[in-house]
Symmetry: C2
Subunit: 253 residues, 2 copies
Amino acid sequence: MSKGKLYGIGVGPGDPELLTLKAKRVIESSPILAKPVKKSGEESVAFTIIRPVVDLSKVEVVDLLFGMTGDDADYWEFGRKAGEQVIGYLSRGMDVALITLGDVSIYSTFMYMEQYVRSQGYDTEIIPGIPAFCGGAAKARVPLTLGDQCLAVVPSAKDNPMLEEALEKFDNVVVMKAGKSVGKVLDMLKEKGYGPECVTAVSNVGMPDEYVGMADPDRPYGYFTTLIVKKSFKKVCRWRRCRPSTSPPGDVW
Amino acid sequence: MSKGKLYGIGVGPGDPELLTLKAKRVIESSPILAKPVKKSGEESVAFTIIRPVVDLSKVEVVDLLFGMTGDDADYWEFGRKAGEQVIGYLSRGMDVALITLGDVSIYSTFMYMEQYVRSQGYDTEIIPGIPAFCGGAAKARVPLTLGDQCLAVVPSAKDNPMLEEALEKFDNVVVMKAGKSVGKVLDMLKEKGYGPECVTAVSNVGMPDEYVGMADPDRPYGYFTTLIVKKSFKKVCRWRRCRPSTSPPGDVW
């Protein structure tokens, strides 16, 4: 009997229609769909996303336990345990489709498990998804990079020195998981001479409290908040969406 | 008569199946599909990608001229001209689906045109796509970021000082359009104490000369080459793909 294959599938930032054709095909044709959860019976955001657009009539859905302690050493152990669970299916010739929010290569714990499963002699394949920051930029109709520009992607962890570094050196910065850090980011930018017009917040897209607009420190933001910092916004617009304009030729963004 | 709407659609890095469900639906239901070309009659890579997976029987395909001079001021003028061409359809109530390689927010000239079209009172919507670097990371089965890590995305332009800056300060760096710069990047990293095992090249995926593996300065690379630099590769692996291992717990990537 041939061995099954593990697929790691990015389901995109939230809109079910942002699933790729390949993700849909592989999910529907794999006998096992694995949804990672922190504890058994918990809701999976990735599963909620795909539910309306995939046919699961021939698919068994299983929970895959994966803790979220924030500690890299733990993750190797979680990856090994979850990997063993997955190998239980692969060894019986069943493919496993594992779903993860956004893109697989951007902050997904799937990569720990993938490493273990591959080390045990099983084949794996990654199907990329739309990362949250690309979904956010699209929603805000803001370019992340143009021409020869650079981009930094920084998670807003407590006391992360790279946040300051990125805001200092890069013209375009995406701050991930920024719900609690909007004020901090605005303060850091203010010290460098950039106002709130340079910061677009994209928060809880598709949820009742969705917000897409200039970052305002006085409103609350949910967990799924991405900030898009563009220093060039300072030059010609107070807030681009208030001032759609093509002129002057030059750096509107 | 109601006005048409302009859709900017990212078609992903190359595999037709990495088109999103939404991109497929909007392309098939828009009367006009616009493919940007540098000169009339030219092949469009984005169009070649979608061709096998969309039904264009009810769609008129038009070329949209958009030069590539590398000069930002020119791009505003190209954007205005192409925008006027698009408005010719929108003003007659026809939606226009414009396709672009990868993701719309990452180095796409669509954003210049979008700004003009919106300024003229027409509605626009952006449908994000898989960026080339996410497609490349998936192909190489390498994570771009884990935990609290940061990522820098830098195009390999001649004399771009941010390349040195990013390689100095960031643990994870994506170098775009790197076909001619593999040797330069390896040299810069060597000065900082990092060998070629830290650099994965993803080149011309899906083409006959596809290459995914450790960067080798002695082979030629095509235009569509992305380098994924991960300094942590140095710590425990000579080259990760030769040494799949889960132990020790710690920073394998």
